[in-house]
């Protein structure tokens, strides 16, 4: 029905769309870092604890973005869709 090159092209577009998932973690990590900066400003003594909590939360929040990245990588390099 469709030839292989058309499917590769569509896969590349899909990969590009999948990486839009990076917006969410970007915003979330920025908010987390901003609040952490405010917390350090209020209580400079707790800098170590605040930083490690922030990094842990950011790394967990990053997961959804990484799922988007994985989908993009599968589409680009593993090429799961073949012409019928």
């Amino acid at each position: 029905m469709f030839d292989q090159n058309f499917i590769y092209g569509c896969s590349a577009i899909g990969a590009g769309l999948a990486v839009i998932a990076g917006i969410g973690p970007g915003v979330g990590q920025g908010i987390a870092a901003g609040h952490a900066a405010a917390a350090v400003g209020r209580n400079p003594g707790a800098k170590g604890d605040v930083t490690s909590t922030m990094l842990l939360g950011q790394a967990v929040a990053e997961t959804t973005g990484l799922y988007g990245l994985l989908v993009a990588m599968l589409l680009m390099f593993v090429k799961p869709f073949k012409a019928a």
Binding site: S52, L55, L56, A59, V60, E62, T63, L66, Y67, L69, L70, M73, M76, F77
Partner: protein, 240 residues
């Protein structure tokens, strides 16, 4: 494909960051591939084994006032034990060895990208067993400390018909833990191979800064996160 493109995908090919098969063995009609992951894992494990044998030999004749190598070993052990102790509180004792071991293993696996190896943790076949180990520990501790009735009660938490969602939530833990580690390290090695593969003309010195971020910073953070989440889940299973 345009041969005169500056950033041609032709001479790049995904092979530079995919898992390579090094050689294959035929066992009973099945072809078993020994891949680059096996080789790198073996290198990492051998390094750690040699280090631990040397450390053991050194600690057997430990001095009262530590210096040199003994100092380093004591510092590492104290650091890891302190991390486990501050997270798990009174449950820390049985897990200090396990968490310390997987911490050092994952850290060295991630850092092996610095030596030009393909990090073993950038293979889902390595991180998924680690996630399954965590899942086994969580489930075992749940059944040991909450008993069967407590586990069933926890699964039917707000209402009994919530059971399938709670089950999915439980089984998502190892998958999300392992995918997080895998995708982070994989994205680092893909970025590095993109830099070296597509910008090979100008890739001098400055990729070192990227190595510091993708291999060292990201690798260390993900190691910390993996161990931290494992500890949090296990503590959770042992208390509630």
């Amino acid at each position: 494909m345009g041969a005169n493109m500056l950033l041609s995908i032709d001479d790049f090919s995904a092979d530079s960051f995919m898992v390579h098969g090094v050689f294959s063995i035929n066992i009973g009609g099945h072809t078993l591939w020994i891949t680059s992951t096996h080789i790198c894992l073996l290198l990492v494990v051998c390094t750690l084994a040699i280090f631990s044998f040397v450390a053991k030999g050194r600690m057997l004749k430990a001095a009262e006032v530590p210096r040199g190598f003994q100092n380093i070993v004591e510092m590492i052990v104290e650091l890891l034990d302190g991390m486990v102790g501050s997270t798990m509180g009174k449950h820390a004792k049985p897990f200090q060895n396990y968490i310390g071991t997987i911490f050092i293993f994952i850290l060295f696996s991630n850092l092996s990208g610095l030596l030009g190896l393909r990090p073993p943790t950038a293979d889902y076949g390595v991180t998924f067993p680690l996630g399954v180990l965590t899942f086994t520990l969580i489930t075992f501790n749940k059944f040991k400390f909450q008993k069967v009735s407590g586990v069933i009660k926890g699964l039917c938490e707000p209402w009994p018909f919530w059971l399938p969602i709670n089950l999915i939530g439980d089984f998502a833990v190892p998958v999300s833990l392992s995918l997080r580690l895998f995708a982070n390290i994989l994205s680092g090695s893909v970025m590095m191979s993109l830099v070296y593969g597509l910008l090979s003309v100008v890739a001098y010195v400055w990729p070192g800064a990227l190595h510091v971020y993708f291999d060292m910073f990201s690798g260390a953070i993900q190691t910390y996160v993996f161990c931290m989440l494992t500890m949090t889940y296990i503590t959770d299973a042992r208390t509630t």
